[in-house]
Amino acid sequence: MKLVVAVIRPDRLSYVLEELFRARVAGLTISRVQGHGGETERVETYRGTTVKMELSDKVRIEIGVSDHFVEPTVNAIVSGARTGDVGDGKIFVLPVDRVVRIRTGEEDRAAVTPVGVPAD
């Protein structure tokens, strides 16, 4: 089992979701994050205070998949998230010892195959 963690642009999320669903990835968790990388910095001014914004909004996607599913998942994310401009983000693939589905107690593979979810 692997945990695929991706950081993408917020406005690419809906495209990435479509790609993932098309790739039959139906279970995932996202969160709103902020990232720093090669993006050009933004300057903001509030009255006399001028600040450099080191961070830009991103969305973090976390997907637990069984090993043979890593490749299609990564590809789906890349094709949905890529714009070609600096700031598209990263994907990290982490090893997972164990996965549990809370509702049933099922483990690993079984745990990440959602019930009756048409993959789109």
């Binding site: 406005d11 809906s14 902020q34 720093h36 933004r42 300057v43 903001e44 001014t45 509030y46 205070t49 001028t50 600040v51 450099k52 914004m53 080191e54 961070l55």
Partner: protein
Amino acid sequence: MAPAINGSDTAWLLVATALVLMMTPALGFFYGGMVRAKNALNTLMMSFSALGFVGIVWAFFGYSIAFGTLSPLCGGSSYFFLRGVGLNAQGTIPHVLFFAYQGTFAIITAALISGAIVERMRFGPYLAFIALWSLIVYAPIAHWVWGNGGWLGALGALDFAGGTVVHVNAAAAALVCAIVVGSRKDYARQAILPQNVPFTLLGAGLLWLGWFGFNGGSALAANGTAALAFTNTMLAPVATLVVWTILDLTRSGKATAVGAATGIVVGLVAITPAAGFVSPMAAIAIGAIAAFPSYFALLYRATTRLDDSLDVVAAHGVGGIVGALLTGVFASKAWNASGGDGALYGNARQLGVQAIAILATLAYSAAGTFVIVKVIALVARVRTDPREEGMGMDFTQHGEEAYSRGEGALLLLERRSDT
């Protein structure tokens, strides 16, 4: 005009003017709640800045163009830079107050247009647009209907508080702007959801409050007509809100809050031209009837390519036209002798006059708006590029965020060194 200043009329108009001025910030919240968070300040600023840029040109030129006495088409320059606008009585209130009251109308009318081009129009060109528009489009039309010897007024068009002058006018301009400026890059591609519906409800609530000054104040006195206009301004939105909610429930089984806010505004728009001319029961009828065309216009618009983002046309255009026409139906001399009788009271001609006023306004406003935007487009880029649009207008146009957390924000060095 009565020669003397009347204390109670002055007291009421002082309040009415304050209330109408407050409508423009309120509009900012009504609109600002419906856009995405990254464009919240820009949308708010489109209303707030009208207070400045329309307000100043109104004082310098607009008031004279609208309320001067030059000709049936244009008021002329006699009042430029407030020459001759003093403490003398205009009607039964001080002239300066009459000027201020009318100014608040010019300001909000221009701000209404912004609903059609939020989230994409560059701020500088927007400022130029509303300033020019209020002089070239609003002021003349105001003169036609309300000005001394304005031709539509002379023709007998009934527009108590601005159904055509304000709402139909703004909607025509909004339509043209939406088309010329073009759709948002995400329009019909991604879901664009309201960032803060409570703000939209707050705006609607404050707009209603202000509208009592807008319609009630248009009697320019604290008398029976003011009371009638006031009461109708309460009853019409009440009826629209009820019908709108029922339409929502029948359509999706859910009464939406955005719908409630919209319904209130539509009812207020529809009663605006009729407020001082019709009976309270007629106001309820107008409010109830007006719900239908706007409700479905709004649903239809969303299925089209027209990105009139906050539905200025469906709410103010359709609502304003329906209201203006129904004024020609329900108006009754029995309720306001200085008004007129509508079709219901045997004066079908009034409907025709109302139609003329609507068409004249639509035509002139659309044409004028088109010219102004195109001229501005010659000297400046009117809309943001997709990248800026993606980052959001708050940062790209104003260098701010609506809700900052301060995380990862570093004070610039020079700044720190100073202390």
